[in-house]
Symmetry: C2
Subunit: 352 residues, 2 copies
């Protein structure tokens, strides 16, 4: 954390959207995904020491605005994120986000960053990290159902972390699939465009569901899911929004990030509150088993948790010195004498 030594503590480095694009392009998208996955794995290993709380949500008729805070005792972080499904038709993002890291010992913010792009990276990296522990060995083929804004990041994370070579794509809107193919056709995948979700899952060891519908939908029906696959369920991420038939959940071993949040927001909101689940950090630390049988169906019921944003922000912070991609914000008042806030303002007055 070399920026810790930043001389003027009242100045906070800010990573804009443009800076974030330049950082990931300079590092390389796959390399950034690998880097973020490493930071995630480190933080999942020390999961127990984080101050964890379900996100603080403010719901409205049209969407939700959430704050997601956490702390490891040295660094505090939070993300602001909205979810407004109706935004797309107005040409706006469904999800926008920004985040902050602070020094727990002084309370001073030390980083402000855009997180619309960074959230896409951390979500894909978290999926790939879970699959590293849960997917069948030597998985080569992944189905991606839902080819929206998150889908390319998922594909590249699974390529970089698990060596996925073959993609089977389906979206109810062929335009979304076309965009995906255009974006990734030169990235070394063998891509098959499918006419249905049923066709997409055929032969895939990993099935990623990442649709954006806000209602309960059944993207995967029970008869579509055979033995020995890993399901990476991303889209079921708020109350009333699910993607999988309940029958699939009952045949699967379910792995989650933070049970208190997943019970409310994840696929398992369809199940009883005491349905057995395993926490991902337990698998990563070896305290619980991941995949134990090649015929087992594993399900990562991902809703996104504050610690993951914290890891991603830590990663970005550690890239600032090398890339120089940030600007200084005059964000914190810093009078010469801490008790003289009023005098500081008066001394800023122009001399006539």
């Amino acid at each position: 954390m070399s920026l810790q030594d930043h001389k003027n503590l009242n100045i906070v480095p800010f990573v804009s959207v443009d800076h974030m694009m330049k950082i990931v392009l300079e590092i390389g998208v796959e390399e950034a995904l690998v880097g973020i996955t490493e930071y995630l794995e480190e933080d999942f290993r020390r999961w127990k020491l984080f101050d964890k709380t379900p996100r603080v949500a403010s719901h409205s008729h049209e969407g939700v605005i959430e704050l997601m805070p956490t702390s490891d005792g040295d660094i505090y972080g939070f993300k602001y994120v909205n979810g407004h499904p109706k935004n797309t038709k107005d040409g706006l993002q469904t999800v926008t986000a920004f985040g902050v890291l602070s020094d727990v010992h002084t309370g001073y913010p030390v980083l402000l960053s855009e997180m619309t792009i960074l959230t896409a990276f951390r979500t894909a990296a978290t999926s790939a990290l879970a699959a590293k522990y849960l997917a069948p060995k030597n998985s080569e083929c992944m189905a991606i159902i839902g080819n929206g804004a998150q889908s390319e990041f998922q594909a590249l994370a699974f390529k970089a972390i698990l060596g996925i070579k073959k993609l089977r794509l389906y979206d109810i809107d062929p335009v979304a699939t076309k965009k995906f193919v255009f974006n990734l056709e030169s990235k070394g995948f063998e891509i098959t465009v499918c006419d249905s979700a049923e066709q997409a899952v055929q032969g895939a060891q990993i099935v990623t569901t990442v649709t954006a519908d806000k209602q309960c939908a059944t993207i995967l029906t029970d008869n579509m899911v055979g033995a020995g696959i890993h399901i990476n369920a991303i889209g079921g991420d708020c109350p009333g929004k699910t993607e999988l038939a309940a029958g699939i959940l009952e045949r699967s071993d379910v792995f989650v990030e933070f049970p208190a949040q997943t019970r409310i927001e994840g696929e398992i909101q369809q199940l009883d509150a005491d349905h057995p689940i395993t926490e991902l950090w337990q698998v990563i630390t070896g305290q619980a088993k991941g995949r134990t049988d090649p015929r087992q169906i594993t399900l990562f019921d991902s809703v996104g948790f504050a610690v993951e944003d914290f890891s991603a922000l830590r990663y970005i912070r550690d890239q600032l010195e090398a890339t120089g991609q940030y600007q200084d914000l005059d964000m914190l008042a810093d009078p010469d004498e801490p008790r003289d806030l009023f005098g500081m303002i008066m001394r800023a007055a122009p001399v006539h």
Copy 2:
């Protein structure tokens, strides 16, 4: 909200510390305090429609970091604020803060602002607003016990809103009082520097306690408080931090901002959880009585609440167009096609 029309929704106006100083200097400190008090009064009048929750605190050995969100159904706001009493000895601010306003209908942030300075204004304006309804008629003299960073703002707010002309000052550190006198000696007050809190309260109709100690302290003992005064208690604002003897509380009519928070953080943490209190919004809307008797002791047990920050941010937002004191931040990713976040990043790559 003319900035609502801001063409590029991905750009968020940012008010830096320097901008904030220029805004309040251009408007005038007392005029800004009056303006913020008007916005506060408007929001206290519609108190019931706000989405209210106690602040979300992350405690550490050295301090606390808090998020304070609220929403009126159209605008969402939150403040980030830390409290680190030990910071002063390292030459840092005990409290730093920044805040955000967002459009509830899109979830897009529409303002990012420093709030270290703005919090000082809103705290003083809230005190003055409460006193407008609770202090003895024609109060002219205020004692201020604790002459730190918040004290000058309190004095000017009470001058601007209530017509306070005489100040009686006391601080355990004479240097703090000296700073206060230096800062405000040309502002039209008759100032008396006192040797003790006991001396300071003599003849004052209003007593403001605004010390910064983190432990339970007794700034005012029971025998120092006579009939017919208004106590404006600012410093007791976190668990274990109080300023007044319990006996004073028992002889007073207690007025609070948000009971769920004040019971934990305010002076009344010393009393039973069912001790009768009145909410300030009820007095302002006429649903409850404020001062009913000239001999009554009224106590505003202030801890600060999210709605007050919301009001202050609204006020600042409405000053941006006229003052031009803000800068544009490239904070929200905005691809031409909402589902093509990945393509947006790729197209940002330099062409070789």
